[in-house]
């Protein structure tokens, strides 16, 4: 102490959120002084507390996980302890997660400062069945350990009493310090011999040597300037032992393990939490997968069984009504303007509008699953299926949602952290057959194949999924580095969902979608309307029609005429556009019965199969392309996605038709 029992300085150290500030506020009350640490923007709190006849100056150090110079807070903490030399450092640790707090204690024990450990939240630990025996921990550490519940003020005065006692009787303080792992002890000793004479006065040589082995940048720079030419020898040792951090940290964790085994009693096997009970199923390799399929089926059901009627209602009662009104009521407008409004703008805006029910429900359901903590379990269970594509389990959910609509599937990739994995998922998700494509299949397959249609559709879905897997593996191996990495997750506890959190997230993402993709969809829809109208006023005599006829040579390889090729092109706006396009071009009046009659006999089964296969694998719709651009942030990858699917679909279509020709199948 500074003088005979008159004043002393205590520094409060500890990790963030362990109750250190609560201890500080309890001790200092309204007598706090708040400023900034010298030269830093980090807040400094000091105060005073009187214990018996001692004036205790209390300094609240920033919350830190360790004493390595990775952050301003860590630098402030160790600089204060080393250079200002408080009489005692009180380390507050959380009894619920003692292992974490003891790492900081292990580091502090290497400094020339006396410690007292404040074991906080013993009440919460007891609620979880964790019993930390403070007296046993004290004996093991060789450092006073005071059990506390700082939020209720319990044990705080005892903490100060212990600190004062330690300051009064330094000889009685005999800590059990951690050491470096034995295989690296000679390295540490050699380093200490090299630096001992040149270490600045307030720094312990052993601590400096440990920090050099850990790779602490600030200490490294300090010693390099101190040693000058003598640095070469130190440099050689550090280069030869660049993994010495593991020996230093390993020694500390061995020490922590001994402390915890001695002093901590955890719940018996029969006493498990709600999270543990649920996770016995949710993370089980088989039961977890079945649960996931059940939940995802529910997600799919809610998103599209509830969303689809809303979507159909919006399309029929809002979009169509608006378009019909424009056509019938705004006849005073020039025909071109009337057509632009009804067929271009309203159709374009309507596309955005009809997607909203599906998107909102998806975000809502997904938000609930995220907030309760289930999504982490889903990712863990699906991981084994994602690895060959270089993806982790979190990629599965966006891909699965592609079965409904590719747009929310691609937007869902936002939950994927790794940039390459996210990009692969964005490029692979559009291959998943969406409901729009499936609706075209459901209408056309019976026309071409009658009662065999169901097998044809199943076969096409299987083919699509195989292509998706092949593309994923190919991207992973050849284009995006092929790296396989380990992925470690800390599963959160389950909790009740926060409606406010979910509602805000849904709102934010809905607004994002409308602003981003909607703008592009609107522009492209207007463009396509113009191309399919001008110059001749009909689709046959339009630019699009001429273009379609230019595709006839390509179509011949698949047994398709230019009308079928054009129907593929118009599916770029919306996949369902294939149907009315075929109806118009074959003059079927747009009715399915009429279309059946119009198409019946027009295509050989082999050509029909080729057309359906191309339809399934063709470039995604404009909404999906817009979302790819939005989420990838790159026109290069967006165009690659389009080109990739264009090439794959053409090759598959040509392969199917030419293979059938070669086998003599399906030509009649």
């Amino acid at each position: 102490m500074n003088s005979a029992a008159s004043s002393m300085t205590i520094a409060l150290a500890g990790q963030p959120n362990v109750g250190k500030s609560t201890v500080f506020n309890t001790l200092t009350g309204l007598g706090q002084y708040v400023s900034n640490w010298p030269g830093k923007t980090c807040e400094q709190k000091t105060g005073q507390y009187y214990y018996e006849d001692v004036c205790v100056h209390v300094v609240d150090l920033p919350g830190t996980y360790s004493l390595t110079a990775n952050s301003v807070e860590e630098r402030i903490t160790r600089d204060f302890i080393i250079n200002c030399g408080p009489e005692v450092v009180v380390v507050v640790v959380d009894a619920v997660s003692l292992e974490r707090g003891l790492y900081l204690v292990a580091e502090l024990l290497c400094l020339p400062v006396r410690l007292v450990v404040g074991l906080n939240r013993v009440d919460q630990a007891a609620q979880q069945g964790i019993k930390v025996e403070a007296h046993v921990l004290q004996a093991a550490l060789g450092v006073p350990v005071i059990a506390m519940t700082a939020s209720r003020g319990e044990g705080v005065e005892g903490l100060v009493a212990a600190a004062v006692q330690v300051a009064r009787d330094p000889e009685a303080w005999k800590p059990n310090r951690p050491g470096i792992q034995e295989d690296h002890r000679p390295v540490l000793e050699a380093l200490i011999r090299l630096i001992a004479d040149r270490v600045p006065e307030s720094y312990p040589p052993e601590w400096v040597a440990l920090k050099l082995l850990e790779g602490d940048d600030e200490v490294t720079e300090m010693m390099r300037s101190q040693l000058g030419e003598g640095w070469a020898g130190v440099h050689t040792i550090l280069v030869q032992h660049e993994d010495a951090f593991l020996a230093v940290a390993g020694g500390r964790y061995e020490w922590i393990g001994r402390m915890v085994r001695a002093a901590v009693v955890r719940p018996k096997a029969g006493r498990v939490t709600v999270t543990d009970r649920i996770d016995r199923i949710a993370t089980h390799p088989i039961a977890g997968l079945l649960l996931l399929l059940l939940i995802l089926g529910g997600v799919f059901w809610m998103t599209y069984i509830i969303g689809s009627p809303l979507q159909a209602w919006l399309e029929g009662h809002v979009v169509q009504t608006a378009a019909t009104w424009v056509r019938s009521e705004l006849t005073a407008l020039p025909a071109a303007l009337n057509g632009l409004l009804a067929g271009g703008l309203i159709t374009g805006v309507g596309t955005v509008l009809t997607l909203l029910p599906i998107l909102i429900i998806f975000f809502l359901v997904l938000g609930v699953l995220e907030d309760v903590g289930y999504m982490a379990r889903a990712a863990y269970v699906m991981d084994r299926f994602m690895h060959p594509m270089g993806l982790h389990g979190k990629s599965f959910l966006p891909i699965f949602l592609g079965f409904g609509c590719n747009v929310p599937a691609i937007m869902g990739t936002r939950m994927i952290e790794a940039p390459k994995a996210r990009l692969i998922t964005i490029l692979v998700a559009p291959i998943v057959p969406c409901t729009a494509r499936m609706s075209v299949m459901a209408l056309l397959a019976p026309i071409f194949f009658g009662q065999e249609a169901l097998w044809v559709i199943w076969g096409l879905v299987a083919l699509t999924l195989l292509v998706m897997a092949a593309v994923g593996v190919g991207l992973h191996q050849f284009l995006l580095g092929g790296e396989q990495t380990a992925f470690i997750m800390e599963l959160p506890l389950y909790q009740a969902p926060s409606l406010r959190t979910i509602a805000q997230g849904v709102w934010q993402r809905t607004v994002d979608f409308i602003k981003g993709a909607g703008t592009i969809i609107l522009v492209v829809s207007v463009l396509l309307w113009a191309l399919s109208t001008y110059p001749g006023g009909t689709i046959d005599s339009s630019f699009l029609g001429w273009f379609g006829q230019g595709l006839a040579p390509v179509g011949k390889w698949m047994g398709l005429d230019w009308q079928m090729m054009l129907a593929l092109l118009t599916s770029f706006v919306r996949k369902e556009n294939t149907i009315p396009t075929l109806a118009v071009l074959y003059e079927a009046g747009g009715e399915s019965a009429g279309l059946s009659a119009a198409l019946a006999g027009r295509l050989a089964p082999a050509a029909g199969l080729a057309f359906l296969a191309v339809q399934m694998l063709f470039i995604p719709c404009v909404a999906t392309v817009a979302t790819i651009r939005q989420e990838s942030g790159s026109w290069r990858w967006t165009l690659l996605s389009i080109l990739l699917l264009l090439v794959i679909s053409m090759l598959v279509g040509i392969g199917i038709y030419q293979g059938a020709v070669w086998l003599g199948w399906g030509m009649n």
């Binding site: 807070e73 964790y253 599963l491």
Partner: protein, 106 residues
């Protein structure tokens, strides 16, 4: 414990902290603490995502910085949805296998 932990997490695959704790016969808190230290040393890259609908974009990219967990929390402070974000962020790490290399020692 640390060498055995590194042997487990350096292999491709997904593991949970609970899995690792079971394999190492230690507590999940010990494993979490070790993961934080390995991340600070560059062996792991923290990729923390707050538990929110669709995933928070601000923190959805990995921090890639030493002491990444503290930097991640600071990144959340700048997010417009931080005040309503779930209090249970999903913490995850990716193995880099790249400690401070000899070429970075001055």
């Amino acid at each position: 414990m640390l060498p055995r932990l590194i042997a487990l997490i350096s292999q491709p695959g997904t593991l949970t902290v609970a899995d690792l704790a079971c394999k190492l016969d230690t507590s999940p808190e010990m494993v979490s603490s070790a993961m934080e230290r390995l991340a600070a040393a560059g062996y792991l890259r923290p990729v923390a995502v707050p538990g929110q609908a669709g995933g928070c974009h601000t923190c959805a990219t990995d921090t890639g910085k030493p002491g990444g967990l503290q930097s991640c929390a600071q990144g959340c402070a700048s997010c417009s949805l931080a005040s309503s974000c779930s209090t249970q962020p999903l913490r995850a790490w990716v193995w880099t296998g790249k400690p401070r290399g000899a070429d970075t020692i001055p």
